[in-house]
């Protein structure tokens, strides 16, 4: 027993000492590299999100480095990307944010994507005075100081927020589709769909529409027959499905089988091209909100889509596009920084007025980490997403 105890104490001390010693690096090494952190959900329950995000970030960094890197304060630098997995968990998010900031000494962080991890990470970035740009966290609380209600100083995002999306879609359904009634089906255990569903209901009712069914399921469910039977019995004009695309594939197929032929309405989480294959034709004609339109893409977006497709063999989804933009914003901030130091990078980020990204024109109002972006409404046509209209903020 004594042996075990002594061995245990020695090993633990050794490992902690090694951990502590392993952190030795400066954000701007003398070798002309700048360290940038990336937190993604590679394992856990949303590996598709994390993988897309990592792929896009690697692409952005490699493109920049092969084009000669960037200049800060008149000196050329290459970017070194430190990628950490947070398992889509809050506690691991906090751990890796601390690790990137204190151990790897990164200049700034991109990620995490899911709000579950982004909120604790944002708290740490704020208190450690390090810039954090989340590509995909749509929860309004991520960029806000909950206590004072004021925006955080060091936290930015590349996407629009859930309330905005819910409102845009409600207005679209009510005004453009002229729908008088709607049914909603969403994942009760997931944060973004819940916010989108509630804001949709609120706006839609303000516009004079009626919500006939407000149904939920739980993450991991594959059978939606009970909810769909209920929705069918109230016969709404449209069905709103703010859900992640792998769920949508199943919901849409089952809805058609249950004889629901009304238009389906979706959120930005639909925008993976995989959806069309997963749904096997059941989403034909459906509308959804997106960050950008692939078919009328700007030259920036077209270049990104082509490069991504060539390297990874798939069309990028919304997470990939937003991560690419978050990286682009960060590079822009680095170029504008007076010195390669954290505070200077954050100040340069706050000074960015507009950025022409893959997901459109990203503008920040001074003093806020939320961009003013317009959404686009897309329609599924054949095996493509087709642009329908723009929805200004």
């Amino acid at each position: 027993m004594k042996k075990t105890l002594s061995r245990f104490i020695r090993c633990t001390t050794l490992v902690i000492a090694a951990l502590a010693a392993s952190g030795c690096g400066a954000p701007a090494g003398n070798d002309g590299t700048l360290k940038v952190g990336l937190i993604v959900e590679l394992t856990g329950d949303m590996p598709a999100v994390g993988t897309s995000s990592r792929n896009a970030a690697r692409l952005a960094v490699d493109e920049l480095n092969s084009a000669g890197g960037l200049e800060v304060d008149g000196r050329p630098y290459r970017i070194e990307l430190v990628i950490e997995d947070n398992s889509a968990k809050a506690d691991q998010s906090a751990a890796v944010t601390n690790k990137l900031i204190n151990q790897d000494q990164v200049l700034a962080i991109v990620g995490p994507n899911a709000s579950l991890g982004a909120i604790p990470a944002a708290e740490i970035a704020e208190s450690s005075r390090t810039l954090l740009i989340t590509p995909w966290s749509t929860n309004p609380k991520t960029t806000l100081d909950t206590r004072s209600g004021k925006p955080k100083n060091y936290v930015f995002r590349a996407c629009f927020t859930d309330p905005f999306e819910g409102q845009v879609l409600a207005r679209f359904v009510s005004e453009s589709l002229d729908a008088k009634s709607a049914a909603v089906l969403y994942d009760v255990a997931s944060e973004a769909p819940k916010s989108q569903a509630e804001l949709f209901r609120q706006t839609f009712e303000q516009l004079g529409g009626k919500i006939l069914a407000f149904e939920t399921y739980t993450t991991g469910d594959r059978d939606f027959s009970a909810q769909l039977t209920k929705i069918k019995s109230v016969n709404p004009d449209v069905v709103f499905l703010p859900a992640y695309y792998n769920d949508v594939g199943l919901i849409a197929q089952q809805a058609r089988r249950h004889g629901i032929h009304q238009p389906l309405i979706g959120s930005d989480a639909w925008s993976s091209p995989e959806l069309i294959r997963l749904a096997e034709g059941a989403v034909e004609g459906a509308y959804f909100a997106n960050h950008y339109a692939t078919d009328i893409a700007t030259p920036v977006a077209q270049r990104f889509i082509a490069a991504y497709e060539q390297r990874y063999g798939t069309v990028p989804d919304d997470v990939a596009a937003l991560t690419y933009d978050a990286m682009g914003l960060l590079f822009e901030a680095l170029r504008g920084a007076a010195t390669p130091e954290r505070q200077a990078v954050r100040d340069a980020m706050a000074a960015i007025a507009g950025y022409d990204g893959v997901t459109g024109d990203i503008r920040f109002t001074p003093g806020s980490g939320d961009p003013v972006k317009s959404a686009v409404i897309m329609q599924v046509k054949g095996d493509k997403f087709a642009w329908m209209m723009n929805a200004a903020p």
Partner: protein, 295 residues
């Protein structure tokens, strides 16, 4: 028919389908569970591997339904035997809970290894024509009927194997007493391997049918399904194959009916509260016999 009747008939059909899907998974679970009293936490993940096997067979090899199903079952049966030999057999004389935790580890390993290879959800090609018929407003699909019939059929076959064949008798003997049985010339290792092969093969069949009924598969698909099979097997009565079937139908029925009657937001809350009550009222499971405790 009036709309109310149609609504309830449709929900009843939904419940039957969900119940039979759960039953398909719970049968294999209950099999291993009954013979070895081992909570096989890896079952849900073997089921997931089954779905991926089926995808590979259907897309890479381009096989039609019947060979795909057989190949998948063979693959998972082999996997089950390998897992048993490598991970569970050395622990046969260890405390029961060691094997349970090992199973948990094996399950996590399978899940994360699959995730490392394929992080994106995959679409399962339709191997069977899924026809939908409308009877007076009630929609019935061919797949629904196949799944319901298959789970009933498998239950009967399993019941027969366990209660009417020599192998089944040996299995029950092992469940009864592990020390005495080898002395009577029963090849314990072989019988346990067969048990695992059958259990894992059934998981493969369930994975195939499940991914045809819900044709989007991902590495996480086995988690909740595994827990629900565990619930069905225990609620029905541990080690009782018919009980597992009934447990699965109760679970599926309650899940559907709670949504049909009440706001679906409270589904999990109500379903698990009912489950809790059921277990407290009938602590030995529905078909389980109250075991006399030896003093």
């Amino acid at each position: 028919m009036n709309p109310d009747t149609i609504y309830w008939l449709q929900q009843l059909l939904n419940a039957l389908q969900l119940g039979s899907i759960y039953a398909l998974i719970a049968l294999g679970y209950s099999m291993v569970y009954g013979i070895l009293t081992m909570i096989n936490f890896a079952h849900g993940d073997v089921f997931m591997i089954g779905a991926f096997c089926c995808l590979l067979a259907a897309t890479a090899l381009g096989l039609p339904f019947a060979p795909t199903l057989l190949l998948t079952m063979a693959g998972t049966a082999l996997l089950g035997v390998v897992i048993e030999r490598l991970a569970y057999k050395p622990l046969r004389n260890a405390p029961r809970v060691s094997a349970i935790i090992t199973a948990l580890g094996v399950g996590l390993f399978l899940q994360n290894a699959t995730l490392a290879l394929s992080p994106y959800p995959k679409a399962m090609p339709p191997l069977l024509d899924n026809l939908t018929w409308q009877f007076a407003g009630i929609s019935v699909s061919s797949l629904q009927l196949i799944v319901i019939c298959l789970s009933l059929g498998l239950m009967l076959v399993l019941d027969h194997v366990v209660h009417r064949t020599p192998v089944g008798m040996a299995m029950r003997a092992i469940a009864w007493d592990k020390t005495l049985v080898p002395l009577m010339g029963i090849p314990v290792n072989l019988i346990i391997s067969i048990t695992f092969a059958i259990g894992a093969g059934l998981a493969g069949a369930a994975g195939t049918m499940y991914s045809l009924a819900y044709p989007v598969i991902d590495p996480q698909m086995g988690i909740m399904v595994g827990w629900k099979a565990f619930i069905a097997a225990v609620v029905g009565g541990i080690g009782n194959i018919r009980g597992a079937m009934i447990g699965a139908f109760i679970l599926g029925g309650v899940e559907i009916m709670v949504v049909a009657l009440l706001p679906s937001t409270y589904r999990d809350f109500i379903v698990f509260s009912l489950l809790l009550l059921l277990v407290i009222i009938r602590p030995q499971g529905i078909l389980g016999q109250a075991r006399e405790q030896k003093v």
